[in-house]
Subunit: 146 residues, 2 copies
Amino acid sequence: MRTAESAVETIQREMTVFARRARASAGRMHPELSLVSYTLLGHLEESGGCRATDLAAHYALDKSTVSRQVAALERAGLIERRPDPEDQRVQVLQLTEAGQEILAQVTRRRRAAFRERLAEWPEDDLVRFAAYLERYNAGAEGIGAD
Amino acid sequence: MRTAESAVETIQREMTVFARRARASAGRMHPELSLVSYTLLGHLEESGGCRATDLAAHYALDKSTVSRQVAALERAGLIERRPDPEDQRVQVLQLTEAGQEILAQVTRRRRAAFRERLAEWPEDDLVRFAAYLERYNAGAEGIGAD
DNA sequence: GCATTCCGGTTGCAGAGTACAACTCGCGAC
DNA sequence: GTCGCGAGTTGTACTCTGCAACCGGAATGC
């Protein structure tokens, strides 16, 4: 299985390169929203509001980290915390209008960048690549990426 | 081009998921070698020795960052710098014995994790997936990952 | 041959992201 | 009520990172 071996090597290496680059360049492309903030906002939108603890669990982050991120996002007016009537310890986090707007805007820009980068690719390859990535990430659920 | 459109969407989303996860779990899997160090060592092995500037270019890092990482790796005895006889400004970086060993060891562990994750994949798919990733990252050379 | 500019690398500085530990406050079980 | 647990905050420390200023060698101009 020589070929499969080296393909696994390559996948591993290239995924890592990508991850490193993503981190390095995230701040440059959307100065107003780091990769972390972006994904947190994204999760809030997707979930329609959740607790800080949920975010921490979902992204395998320490709760203190989330706490600070959330504080920053609130300071920036992108999210708001509202007390949970059922449990006074809990803060339900939700996107503000501004948060939704910024998120949509960054999403648009990211999408444009991706599309441009993939412009030359034949459709068949795009479809297959997308399928591979989905499959890969589905297998990685909760394991961590490297 | 409906299909290509949505494939691009998927690629974007899945790559982001991956990047986020990589970040979250980076430090946890190989305590003795950070993700950064690991990738730098990997590149040194693969290239058979190169300059700090090459590393910076390949990973879209600032040269100062690489400089510090390299210093740390040298302090740890994992790499050595030797002057380039052709150009006295240049330091050719190379793995030491110890560096090769550590790298091999970490690679084994990572590979086991990856292989497990990719175990069900037919060889053809592995090879194609690897090729797509390489192609994607090649196109991103210096642009940034998102 | 000298000056200017370019390039590889280092260092000082600042900022983001992160974890861990210690803490507060509210909830629930006993 | 008391005790333990869970949500969240804060203090501290560390790593990774970029930018800017710098040094010294190389290349190019004249």
